[in-house]
Symmetry: C2
Subunit: 195 residues, 2 copies
């Protein structure tokens, strides 16, 4: 069954070892931040630093694994029809909009949408790690300068994950203007028992 994450919101749920997770960009051009925690011990979680270290790459796509802070594989990416994701940048937060967008007003954010949904799993705001930012188009040049561009994903693009153990998954439909080409759209996902 396709689950729908409304624009600028989020969701958290259990994914079992023998299941698969499909994350879909239904309209195109929409980022989804994903965080992962070991369901049996939430102090083990996705680590961007470990993932880039073991995969020897900044760009993570089909056939790469997402790794934990305890140096264990968490997810294998078994399909990625768009192919451009980011694992460098932290989830957008109220501070992002205050500091980078010079906006002191309330603004929805991935950080808030993650920690509010993860609270039911006893995960605190300080425990939210840097996410795997699905469909996010972060470009870098040879001097390391980063630019956040409009996602390259088209309507219906998806990424498919195979978990290595039971985990808690947090997903968002990203709330940042610059990351999503100035618009806010939903994200869809499916938990599949088989392919």
């Amino acid at each position: 069954m396709v689950e729908k994450i409304d624009k600028q919101s989020g969701r958290a749920f259990i994914l079992k070892k023998n299941q698969f997770l499909k994350v879909i960009d239904p309209l195109g051009g929409q980022v989804c931040d994903m965080v992962l925690f070991n369901a049996k011990d939430t102090r083990e979680k996705i680590s961007a630093g470990k993932t880039m270290d073991f995969e020897e790459s900044i760009l993570i796509t089909k056939s790469n694994f997402l790794w934990s802070n305890r140096s264990r594989k968490m997810m294998e990416i078994i399909e990625d029809t768009n192919g451009r994701n980011d694992i460098l940048l932290a989830p957008c937060s109220p501070d992002t909009f205050r500091i980078m967008y010079n906006n002191p007003e309330y603004h929805p954010s991935c950080f808030e949408n993650l920690y509010k949904n993860l609270a039911s799993f006893n995960i605190a705001p300080d425990d939210v790690p840097t996410a795997f930012n699905i469909f996010m188009n972060v470009q870098f040049n040879e001097k390391g300068k980063l630019s956040v561009l409009k996602p390259l994903s088209k309507a219906g693009d998806f990424i498919l994950f195979k978990p290595e153990f039971d985990m808690i998954v947090g997903l968002t439909a990203c709330s940042a203007e610059d990351s999503n080409g100035g618009t806010f759209k939903p994200i869809h996902y499916e938990v599949l028992d088989k392919l």
Copy 2:
């Protein structure tokens, strides 16, 4: 007074807001992993993802800031005579040597040297974040492929930090062969009350 960190070891200490920290590569070609925690609340700590986000760069050097997971500036880099550091890769750990070097034997690691020294500040192994890897020479190409090369630092190269508040600092003389040109050398540091 110059403090000396022996090869393949580490240290943790308090740095006060009005002090400065100078980290020196005394012989050249040696990496130093650095982690930072708010001395008053160790759940606030250095965040690679927040640092790259706010500094809009993979490469962090003079005039950049290191940021916390709570979106606060932690350190300003006010001098950097070498200029090449890394903030992508997690500290080398026993798993690094087992998985990437195919070495199942005991091997000293930055991860162990950080958590053992940080234990006296009630910081647990799971709380050790991705470090700022001073003098580490991680190159990337346009496809995001990462290569760990010999450091470019020469004997006496140093980096100078100005903290924004009181913090706990963990430092290592890195233990990984590939990161240090195949040799293991000491790291020196100084806590200065004025420049």
